[in-house]
Symmetry: C2
Subunit: 425 residues, 2 copies
Amino acid sequence: MSAAYESMWKDLGLDLAAHDVLLQVLGNAYRDIFLSQKDRPGGMDYFNFVMSEVHGLRIKELLESKKKGKKVIGSFCVFVPEEIVRAADATLVGLCTGADFATDEVDKILPRNTCSLIKSAFGFKLGKVCPYIESADMIVGENTCDGKKKSYEVLNTLVPHLYVMDLPQTKSAEGRAVLKSEYYRFKEAVEGLCGVRIDAAMLKKGIDIVNAKRKAIHRLSKLRKADPAPISGLDALLINQVYFYDDPARFTESVNKICDELEQRIKEKKGVFPQGTPRILLSGCPMAVPNWKLPWIIETSGAVIVGEESCVGERGTRNLTDNSGQTVEELMDAIVERHFQIDCAIFTPNPDRLNHVKEMYREYNANGVIHYGLQFCQPYQIESYSVEKALEGEHIPTLRVDTDYSMEDVEQLKTRVEAFIERLK
Amino acid sequence: MSAAYESMWKDLGLDLAAHDVLLQVLGNAYRDIFLSQKDRPGGMDYFNFVMSEVHGLRIKELLESKKKGKKVIGSFCVFVPEEIVRAADATLVGLCTGADFATDEVDKILPRNTCSLIKSAFGFKLGKVCPYIESADMIVGENTCDGKKKSYEVLNTLVPHLYVMDLPQTKSAEGRAVLKSEYYRFKEAVEGLCGVRIDAAMLKKGIDIVNAKRKAIHRLSKLRKADPAPISGLDALLINQVYFYDDPARFTESVNKICDELEQRIKEKKGVFPQGTPRILLSGCPMAVPNWKLPWIIETSGAVIVGEESCVGERGTRNLTDNSGQTVEELMDAIVERHFQIDCAIFTPNPDRLNHVKEMYREYNANGVIHYGLQFCQPYQIESYSVEKALEGEHIPTLRVDTDYSMEDVEQLKTRVEAFIERLK
C-alpha cells in the first residue's frame, strides 16, 4: 500500500503519518510471522494480497460501491446478522482492532482495566488510522460484555452513526424474544439506511451469500483434521480474519480454491509441519488482525494449531442459517435461531461451549487445548476455569493463557507454551 | 461476640479460628472508625449493638426463626425484590462481602482481575466465616455485571441452593418483560421454598414492610440536608448497611428513633462537624460492611458525607413500591415498576443515574462529588467518565477514585481526597 491511496485516506480523515507507521508495523509483522512460514499453500497468495491491500484496494472498492449507493455497515461482533445486511445489498465489515494504538488517548476515556480489544478499537478511532470505521455509514455495537456495552456509550460521543443492539444473557424463551425483537429492529434500521424494504427473496439471497462463506470455511476446517496438517493454524486464522473484510463471493471462491489444493496435499501426505507434530486446539477470545501473538508463539514452539474455538473461528462460523423459509417471518426466525446457538461466554450458563470444545478436540485430533483469555475479558476469563476443569476431568491437557496485545510477555508465554507442548509429546 | 455462640457457629460449619480472627479485625476496625467519632447521636447505640452482634444474636434469631419453619434467603443485590420474600414470611439477608478473606483460595478459582466485592463474597464462603450464607435456605444470584453473572456459575459448585435471576440490560419494553417474567419465576421459587401460595394480601404486607424501611431511610436522608450535618456519613452509611441484615420492623423503629433525635439536633444547630464543613456526595459502587475505607478517609480529611448515590444508599432505597393494587398481578406490576427504575450502571444507556447524581448534589447541598469505582467493576468504572464529564460540565467539582478492599493505597487516597477537599473550601 502506498502513495496511490494517500488522497483517499486523507479524504477519509485519516492521520497519514500515524497511518504510515501502522502500515509499516503491520507489514513487518506480516512478513515475519506469515511470509516466513515454510511450505505454505499457493492459495495463500490471494490472502497475502488481501492483507497487503486491506487498507488500500478493499477500501477503494467500498468507497466505489458507496458512490453507487451501496451502504457500508461496520461491526465488532458475530451477533450482528450479516444475512440482513446482505439482504439489503449493503456490505458488512469488521472494524479495526487487534493492536495497541493511541493508548495515551484511550486511557483518558476508558479505564485501564479494559480489555485490549476494546481499547484497540478506540485507539484506531482516536488515532484516525482505521479506514473502515471512517467509511462506515452505520456502526453497530452490541450489548455483549460489560466492557463493550458500557464503552459504546463513550464511542457514541466519537462517531456520528452508532447503532446499539441489545442481546440476551440467557438461553431462555425471554432471551430468544429479546434477540428476535432486536433483529427485527435491526432489519428496520438497515432498511431505513439503505432505503429498501427487505422481502423474502432478498433475505434468502442474503442468507445464501453468508452460508456460502461459512460452507467454504467448514470445508477448510475439515481438511485440518489431516496429519500432517496441510495448512498452518496461522494461515487458517488469517483466512478466518479475512472473512470479516473481504467481498463474500470472492472470499468464498478463494477459500474453495485453497481447499482444492489442500485436498491434493492431503492425498500426497504433504503438510506444513511433519506428521506427528503436537496438535493444538485454540479456545477462547477472538483474535482480530494483527493479533497473531499467541498462534505465532505456538507454531514456532513445535506445535500446529488445528482449530479455533473462537468468534474468529468455529464459534462464529459453525452453523448455517436455514434458508428453506418462504416468508420474511420464517427466514427471520431462522436467522434468530442460528445466532441464538452461538455459545459466547456472555451467556449464563453456557454448557454448549464446553461440549463444543470437547467435540472440536476430538474431531480435529488435537492433543491439547490452549485457552486464550484476553486480560480483563471477564466472561471468558471466568469461564476458562470451568473449561479447564471440564477438560482436565476428561484427561485433556489444557493450558490457560491470559494476555493482552503488548509484546512484553512474549518470552514468558513462549516458555509456558513450550513446556505445555513438551507435555503432549 | 464470644464463646456463647461457638457451638452455633460450629454447627453452621464455620472455621472457628478464622472466624475469631475476622471478628477481631472487624471489632478493631469498628472501634477505630466508628466509636472514635465525636458527638455521635445516642441512637447509634442501637447500631453499635447490632454490629457487635451481627454474627451472633442476629444469626441466633435467624436460626430460631428457621426452627419455626421460616426460611432465610440470602442475596447480593438490590434487584432481588424483598417484597416477595417478606410476602412469604421469609427473611431476606445480604450476604457477607466487604473485606478480603481467603484470597489465596479465591485466586485459584476466579481471575485476579475480578472486583473485590465478588472476590470477598467467595472468600467468606471458602474461608467458612459467613454465618449468613451458611444459614441461608436459598442464595439468590443475579445477572448484573459480567463478574457476578459468570462467577455465579462457579459459586454454584460451592453452595447447594443457588438460584440465579436474569436481568435486562436496557430499559426497553423487552427489558421490562424480562424483569417481569423473572420476578414471577422468583415468586414461584419463593413459594416453593416456603410452601405457601402468595396472595394479594400477603404481597401487600410484604410491600408495606419494605416500604416502611425505605420511608425511615428517606426521613434520615432528608435530615442530612442540614448544616451542620446532624450525623456523620459513616454512621449514615452504617445504617444503610444494617438495612440489609436487621429485622425490618426493629430497623424501621430504630431509624425513626434516631431521626427524632436528629430533628432535635437540627433545631439546636448541633452537628457532628462544624457548620460550613465541606459537604461530599459519594457516588458509585456499593459499600458493604466492613468496606468503610473511603468514607473514613473523607471524614477524617475535613469533609462530611451528606449522601450516598449507591446501592447501599439512595440508589437502593429511593423509590417506594406502590401498594394500591388489589390483585397479585397489580402488586407484582408495581414491584416490577419500582425495581425497573433502579439506575444501576449495568443498564445502557443510563441517563437517569447522571440526573440523580446532579439532583442529590443539589438536594443535599453538597459542595463536591467523589465517585467511588471498585477496581475491575467495569460498568461503574466506564460510566464514571460520563458522570465526571456531566458534573464538571455543570461546574460541580468531581473526584474519581478507583480502589479495592486493600489498605495499601490509604495514604495515597488520603492525599488525593485532602487536595480535593481543599478545592471545595
